[in-house]
Amino acid sequence: MLEIKNLHASVDGKEILRGINLTVNAGEVHAIMGPNGAGKSTLSNVLAGRDGYEITQGEVIYKNENLLALEAEERAQRGVFLAFQYPVEIPGVSNIYLLKAALNAVRKYQGLDELDAIDFLTLVRSKMELVKMDEQFLHRSVNEGFSGGEKKRNEILQMALLEPSLAILDETDSGLDIDALKIVSEGVNALRSQQRSIIMITHYQRLLDYIVPDFVHVLSKGQIVKSGDKELAKELEKTGYSWVDEQPEGVSA
């Protein structure tokens, strides 16, 4: 599904990612944990195709294609989905319009016709149940006036509708109370499948109690310094991140 090889990326000449190696197979859920400033958000932005990052070395292969050569929208059309840490508000664009435009962009790439209004609404409604969203959210402007939890649920709704092959969840747990965290996690768990890979980027172990990963990686200073299974996350919870900074550079466990 995804293979990241020796990825180096800089912002304004400052190197943030310093040789990331990661292989994600279809159906796997990987958690990437790390302290602030480790490069977690940079990694998700680089994978999603945000401007402003300079790739200085390495490559990313997604479904046998050079992911880094694609525009953000081309990645999305091919099934890469980024759930944003801070979903933006877009006054004047209704949620339903966004969902429809996004779904049609993906369907167009897949060579499918646009859904008609009734089929689309039926589909959206079924997905909204998954994240327990009320239909009124469809007609409100995208994220405008939404609470933190509602914004994150809206992200998962978009994911459910677009059915990506690779979902990158960037700090999806941040700003969520326990009830919202449960709803969001249930939504994500319902979307786990043999065809879909998920990368969860998070600072805290808490999310991993709800979405149990197959693999856990620790990111520090732009490199993956340790990899393991879900027990690694529990260990981190106990010991904190202070130890990772003491690791010698370039060591990948």
Binding site: E73, Q77, V88, G92, L98, A102, S141
Partner: protein, 436 residues
């Protein structure tokens, strides 16, 4: 450099011919003569005048406009294709001449009267010019000495006109550099209600000149919803004055959508003369290329307990230039005035320019007034979000631009008109994104 008074077009001699024409009522001759005298004295406003600081008429003054219309016939389905609404009382003016065949005003609701100015001007001695003053606005004199066509609408008291009235002013491009001078008059008696659209369309991208003055008079409790949709040729000159008097408890909603013209200038003036009167004065301008649009608005709160709400939004692309000057005047006795004004602009290119000048002059002490002006660009985070959801860059920019403009449209009460205008605006959105 030549002065603006040295006009390439002999407007004055055209006016002299009109004054000399047989059959002109003496009062109208005098009006035209007074206007001509005024025009000869002041000519066109120059940039040194505060109200014309950001808009130059130099290019305009060098144009040789034609005042003689070649007779032209256009097909009814051509009018259908440009009309905003299908179900409306339609009044069509083609190249400055009222067309009875293309208009649809035979079976009017009782209490409504619609006539062409050319057919009814003799009866307008006491109403024409009531809402406009020769001396105040630069080009009213030009319009008064040359006005030759227009639409006169009146509604009897307590009558609510159900159908919208759409005035369609078409330039066919058949006469090169044609100048048309139009005067519309809309008069609503006590408690009357109506919706009127002024719609200006160029069928070609040729140069021409549309000069229009619209006067609105609202009696007590009258309610007028008024739209102006300006879709002139990108080489046309469009200069317009819109002025209204509002009596007690009357309401005026006006929405001015400016999409076309090489140079468009609107002077819009609302005088709140009766208590509890209200004006909503909205506008939207979308310009690109070398277009220039200038909206000068003024709202006078002349008596206590009046309200106004003004929202003007602009989208600028290419090397376009927009000017917004909105003045709200709260007079000495106008206590409990509630006035709100906002001008917001979205700049899509590096070459465009906006001059935004909101002004409030307040001479009463117990009022609630607010105004603001904002200029910004498309939000990069919003743009990335949409692209990360699969929308290509052009569609994403276009969607965000529409989202910016849309709240001017959402304030439109009539669903059919709102949808029709939204469609027009959507079609006019920038189709190409400027990459960094």
């Amino acid at each position: 450099m030549k002065q603006l008074s040295e006009l390439a077009t002999p407007f004055a001699s055209v006016a002299e011919a009109l004054i000399a024409a047989e059959g002109t009522a003496p009062w109208l001759k005098k009006r035209r003569q007074d206007a001509l005298t005024q025009f000869n004295m002041f000519s066109l406003p120059a940039k040194k005048e505060e109200d014309w600081k950001y808009t130059s008429l130099w290019d305009f003054s060098q144009q040789i406009f034609n005042h003689h219309t070649e007779s032209v016939e256009i097909a009814a389905d051509e009018v259908d294709s440009v009309a905003l609404l299908h179900d409306a009382y339609r009044v069509v003016i083609v190249d400055g001449v009222f067309s009875e065949e293309l208009s649809d005003i035979d079976a009017l609701q009782s209490g409504l009267c619609i006539t062409a100015l050319s057919e009814s001007v003799d009866q307008l001695e006491h109403s024409l010019g009531q809402q406009t003053e020769l001396t105040k606005v630069g080009l009213n004199a030009l319009n008064t000495m040359l006005m030759s066509e227009g639409v006169v609408i009146s509604v009897d008291s307590a009558i609510e006109i159900e159908k919208t009235i759409e005035i369609i002013v078409i330039n066919t491009g058949n006469t090169a550099n044609l100048a048309t001078h139009l005067r519309h008059k809309i008069e609503l008696e006590t408690g009357a209600k109506a919706t009127v659209i002024e719609h200006y369309v160029g069928l070609t991208q040729d140069s021409y000149f549309t000069d229009v003055v619209t006067e609105v008079n609202l009696a007590e409790r009258a309610e007028l919803t008024h739209y102006k949709l300006q879709q002139e040729s990108n080489n046309a000159f469009h200069i317009a004055t819109l002025a209204a008097h509002l009596a007690q408890a009357s309401h005026w909603l006006t929405n001015n959508i400016s999409l076309g013209a090489k140079l468009a200038r609107n002077d819009i003036h609302s005088q709140l003369l009766g208590e509890q009167s209200h004006v909503t004065m909205d506008g939207l301008y979308l310009v690109d290329g070398e277009q220039h649009v200038d909206n000068h608005t003024r709202i006078d709160h002349a008596v206590p307990n009046t309200t106004s709400d003004e929202l003007y939004k602009g989208v600028l692309d290419g090397n376009s230039h927009a000017v917004f000057n909105g003045k709200v005047m709260v007079h000495k006795d106008a206590q409990k005035t509630d006035a709100n004004q906002s001008n917001r602009n979205l700049l899509l290119s590096r070459g465009c320019e906006i001059d935004s000048k909101p002004e409030m002059e307040i001479y009463a002490d117990d009022v609630k007034c607010g105004h603001g002006s904002a200029i910004g660009q498309l939000d990069e985070d919003q743009l990335f979000f949409l692209r990360a959801r699969g929308l290509d860059e052009v569609s994403a920019r276009s969607l965000l631009t529409y989202a910016f403009a849309v709240d001017v449209l959402t304030r439109i009460p009539n669903h059919t008109i709102r949808e029709a205008l939204a469609k027009v605006v959507e079609q006019r959105l920038p189709k190409t994104g400027e990459k960094e």
